[in-house]
Symmetry: C2
Subunit: 682 residues, 2 copies
């Protein structure tokens, strides 16, 4: 395969390194390389047995890796960014995962200075190792329905943490199963018989020395999963466990130990900021997550040859690289375009968020924290950018993680039979990524939040057409033109593509508003429409963001015209392919004519495939995945696919040490195991 | 959850047993129950460790199960049907799989009577255990590109089997990795320097006593996969291995040992019959494969409660079963309808095939075997039912396995977080099913065969409009009405729904014909259109078959009017939901108006969801999956979901025997393992 990839790379003049820098920045690239070198030199990170090991072995090795990462962090004095880079490069969930990402952050965000001093410091030093225990066996999305209680005892100034039913058992809690000795437990606060809703409590669950569960704590790992098996997601039941007053995280509310009254200090609107931030990172990650699969599949399909082209001239009758078949291209190249679209969209959102955050911090923090309510439903729509960002981040999280997850499976399948081997590297990666569609807001349910926001925005526009943010801008524009109609030149003008997506989203918004406000349809009857609406609006956002980036000064300065041309083609492919897939909505809304949609499909998209095809390998190269990171036979940078598959199968595969007795009459199963890797050691 | 499922069942009057019998027949139900009782009483089939074990352990247990099945088969004198039922109930691929399904069948189908006597008998007795070695590392779909050679040696009347390159290594071969001692090897036959294409050879590969590979045979397991890990898919390389003349399967062609000439005896058209049969079973199985996922998700979503309905009256403010949310219904209920649609379609095809086969065998076997060419491309289109069946079975295999595979993932995700647990039972099942989209013809590539057939049929119709089978019938009808147009009442008449699907498929056929024959577009440029065309035609076939069954005498006799009504609603839901998803094609073809598609979506489909919802649990009950078969906490018939999840996690999960040392400074990972399940035994 080597010479085939060399030839592919020779066919295109995309400046790989330039594009790589545009995607990641020089700084990040340098950081990655530096840290990768360190990781590669440590034996514990050797990946050669990853695909072969069972759960126990994988978990054990993951723990070893997490420990080593901590030691390396201390040794090299890694910054948080550097540490995160290292984790990302290791590329598997690890048993310290939730301690790092949620336990420490919750203490930092919701603890008082004293609590940060007490718990935060110990957590930073890995004296206490925590997890974030919100979800229960019976409740996930509906946090208000949690059953674990924390009852205030006014006599001894403690809280009793209790799980009244089996369904109150905490469940799915990352790092809890075997690793954590502390948990941040979300429990219904009960003071003098009255419930105040879920609040966070820091609870010790295992002995600091023996690591055995404390009395009245029943804790363990919840068992094997579709993926994520290097993580010990756990369960946790409390039988009336007492914790002191100081263990309720009290930055935003507490029980006054003197008066036994529940007191609020401002409102935790910052938490919604964090959520927005987390979701924006998911959007950006979706691009690179998908890019792994696209890299693997594109390289493999460029070296995989199968059949001759039926119409090829006699002198070209060699077998055809399957990437030349349009049916392979239509599966992979729009996904290649999507990697860039999602990456730039996530980046754009994060920039916007940070700018806005800065501005807010400078001017009027106090106003903000007083006026904003507890949840996103209560924010004033159409009036500020943060509300817009919050809602759009919900929709984009759902859309982008769906595109990435489903796209990975498309990539896997594009590799034919070999895609099914673990050595493809796509399947294991897909399995680990999949929960992203469910956590941080189930992708289907998030769409309700988006719809709610859009409905409010539409109502605001009907009252006052002056736009206050991008959402109200497009709604207002639509409203002013709806009776005139539109005529977008989607095949001739990129700007018109963006406008057509805006039009369709606006159309669906006002349709939904009619159903809800005029026809008074029940909320539940509209969920499917809301889902479509959210998808339409989020697709618009991706298209718009991608387009804005391509027109931006940064791109103009840092790219050559040929590179800009190909990026623009990727934009068009992503946009027109999406448009064509959702054809009937564009048609019904009047954003496009039947003829335009037909042309987009049969002509524009097919032409774009042809134009992008020669650059496919260089375009995936520009994502810059190291072979060590991809851990894929099919996706090797040097194209030595078959050699690598063969090596892994015949040299590394432990099953080949076994000689079986194949005859049904014999009770012997494994009659010989080389090197004594015997039955009991499975 | 128990009482919730009881209540669900009380809400509906679907006669579960009647419908169960309609689906499976009394005979099959009785057989299943009888065999299930036997399996349950054998300890080796106990499933409790399935989800926990690593590959080695699973493979070993799978081998034990396969052996036991053989012994039971002998003991109980099972028929082939009974044995297949047993395998299906065990529900996992096993190391004898390809011996049973392909090795023996190939000998029976392509061997001479002497070869059947020699190899077939030994195979039947499991003295020799075989596999079917066609695919190579470098070639799968393109069988003509295989690189393994079988060169005729005229001196000693033998063949030399050889793998000239690494890419010639057989790969993916089920049962080969560890189990088989023989292989049926497809190799390029070379006689006196001339190549005659791939032919089947019976080759011994392992010693009958020691089970060690024979000299010059390099064989082993190809390693872990996304699923199918209880099977030892293998690789196989030959270094000039000689086999005697009698080892080339010679029913259809052979090398005359006296003249050294290659001789054909008639043509292997029967093989295409077998392929058609195999694909028809895939279609029918797709229904029940999907039904497992739908059963699990429907039951779970009926007991899973989350949130209150926003519009519910005050007195109904309890939490809502998530199956009540329309956004859950729209994901599950069309799939529920699909289970019936696919089942009846597969059954219909198999009946048609059998009838036709019988008729052909009676009348003129000789004519048939002389006149038919070697491949489906060469059959005369529009002239007989077998050609139609062959082509339609390709399209239906692709459509149905795609619906089933992707539907399973939709079911899994509908279960929220718990769907990700192996205990859901959906994920592991999905992983094992997935290769069905790739083998027996890659789903994307099969669509080219369908398109080719449809183009030929269209050409035939243009020459002579008298229809000879259903495909030419609909094409001819379309052709006669195309200038007049159509006006189908898709929301009022079921027959018109079928007609609308026929119209759209015909429209796309003639469009494709125009592109190919008039505009002379290259084949490769049309692959995407062909894919759509095949999908459209196959959807028509499913709709038509489902509808025909519902109108048939059998249904009229064996079902009560209320049951017929609900089956009809399932038909409508499947049809209108599909139609709405493919809206733009229906619109563009003129089969429906914009308004109809809007109404189908916002009104008809939503109403059908409402009407079917109360019957959902009973409808899945009627598939009659035993809990032992489903092996799912979420899908339990009694609804005891949470108890079962908890039991499996806390009692069965081996990871909970381990106590870790959680601190980064300590090199100890597992500091205690209960019951001595120690590090070395992973
Ligand atoms: C690998 C993994 C790791 C996790 N780690 C953690 C962790 O560390 N800590 C933690 O606290 N949690 C964790 N979770 C839990 C996760 O946050 C929840 O699973 C997630 O929030 C979904 O909730 P649920 O499972 O209750 O789904 P449910 O809410 O039960 O959803 C079930 C189905 O109902 C639908 N549905 C529910 N309500 C509605 C509605 N109102 N309208 C329409 N449809 C509805 C959903 O779309 C879904 O299809 C983890 C989960 C996974 C899979
Ligand atoms: C679990 C499993 C078990 C198997 N068991 C066996 C077995 O027992 N015996 C055996 O012999 N084989 C077996 N196989 C192999 C299987 O039959 C092949 O993998 C299958 O035929 C696909 O071929 P391929 O892998 O070469 O795909 P390829 O042909 O290499 O396909 C790669 C990609 O190219 C596309 N493509 C290829 N050609 C074209 C074209 N002309 N036009 C458009 N697109 C094209 C495909 O759609 C696909 O996306 C098994 C495979 C699996 C996964």
């Amino acid at each position: 395969g080597s010479e085939l990839l060399v030839a592919e790379r020779a066919k295109s003049d995309i400046p790989v390194q330039k594009l790589h820098e545009l995607l990641l920045t020089k700084e990040v690239i340098e950081r990655k390389q530096r840290i990768l070198a360190i990781l590669k030199s440590e034996k514990v990170f050797d990946k050669s047995q990853n695909y072969f090991s069972g759960r126990m072995e994988r978990f054990e090795r993951a723990l070893a890796r997490e420990k080593k990462l901590q030691l390396l962090k201390r040794k090299h004095k890694w910054t948080l960014d550097e540490f995160r880079t290292a984790s990302e490069l290791v590329g598997e969930p690890g048993p310290y995962g939730l301690h790092e990402s949620m336990f420490r952050i919750t203490i930092a965000g919701q603890g008082t200075p004293e609590q940060q001093e007490k718990f935060g410091k110990a957590a930073e030093a890995y004296k206490i190792i925590g997890c974030y225990a919100q979800t229960e066996l019976g409740h996930g999305s509906n946090v208000r329905g949690l059953e674990t209680t924390a009852t205030w005892n006014s006599q001894d100034k403690t809280f009793t943490i209790h799980s009244p039913h089996l369904t109150a058992s905490k469940w799915w809690i990352g790092s809890l199963g075997r690793t954590a000795n502390y948990a941040c437990v979300m429990a219904q606060l009960i003071v003098e018989g009255k419930s105040y809703g879920p609040h966070p409590f820091i609870v010790q669950i295992r002995d600091m020395k023996t690591h055995e569960p404390l009395e009245n704590v029943h804790v363990g790992d919840i068992g094997p999963k579709f993926g994520y098996n290097t993580m010990d997601n756990g369960f946790l039941l409390f039988n009336n466990v007492k914790v002191p007053h100081e263990n309720m995280l009290a930055r935003f509310s507490q029980v006054d130990p003197k008066t036994n009254k529940y007191v609020r200090h401002g409102s935790p609107s910052l938490i919604y900021g964090t959520l927005t931030w987390v979701r924006s990172t998911i959007v950006m990650q979706a691009g690179s997550v998908l890019a792994r699969g696209v890299t693997i599949a594109t390289r493999y399909c460029a070296i995989r040859r199968q059949f001759q082209d039926r119409d090829a001239p006699e002198w070209e009758k060699g077998e055809n690289a399957v990437l030349n078949y349009t049916m392979v291209q239509i599966r992979l190249l729009p996904l290649l375009a999507a990697t860039f679209a999602l990456h730039f969209t996530g980046k754009g959102m994060m920039n916007l968020y940070q700018e806005n955050q800065k501005r807010m911090n400078q001017t009027n923090t106090s106003r903000e924290s007083n006026k904003r309510g507890a949840g996103p439903e209560e924010t004033e729509s159409g009036s500020d950018i943060l509300a817009d960002l919050h809602a759009t981040s919900c929709g984009l999280k759902a859309l982008s993680s769906t595109i990435a997850a489903e796209g990975l499976e498309v990539c896997r399948r594009a590799c034919g039979g070999h895609g099914y081997s673990s050595f493809s590297g796509i399947g294991p990666w897909y399995s680990d990524y999949l929960p992203t569609t469910t956590w941080e807001g189930d992708n289907y349910m998030l769409t309700q939040q988006v719809a709610r926001y859009l409905l409010k925005s539409a109502r605001a526009v009907l009252k006052n057409p002056t736009p206050t943010n991008d959402t109200t801008r497009i709604l207002s524009h639509f409203q002013s033109r709806v009776n005139i109609g539109c005529a977008f030149d989607i095949l001739g003008s990129d700007e018109d593509i963006v406008a057509a997506f805006a039009w369709r989203a606006s159309f669906l918004t006002f349709e939904a508003l009619k159903h809800r406000d005029e026809q008074k349809k029940p909320w539940n009857d509209l969920l499917v429409d809301f889902y479509r609406l959210s998808k339409a609006h989020s697709q618009y956002l991706v298209i718009k963001n991608f387009y804005d980036v391509l027109r931006s000064g940064e791109i103009a300065q840092s790219t050559s015209p040929p590179l800009r041309t190909i990026l623009l083609k990727l934009f068009q492919l992503f946009a027109l392919h999406t448009l064509e897939q959702e054809g009937s909505e564009f048609y019904v809304s009047g954003a496009c004519s039947k003829h335009q949609i037909m042309l987009a499909r049969t002509s524009a998209v097919m032409n774009l495939l042809k134009e992008i095809r020669p650059h496919a390998v260089r375009l995936v190269d520009s994502w810059g995945f190291d072979d060590w990171v991809l851990d894929s036979s099919l996706g090797r940078e040097d194209g030595k696919v078959y050699e690598d598959m063969f090596y892994r199968a015949s040299e590394l595969n432990p099953l080949n040490k076994v000689t079986v007795d194949p005859y049904p009459e014999s009770e012997v199963l494994f009659k010989k195991v080389e090197g004594g890797y015997g039955k009991s050691k499975l």
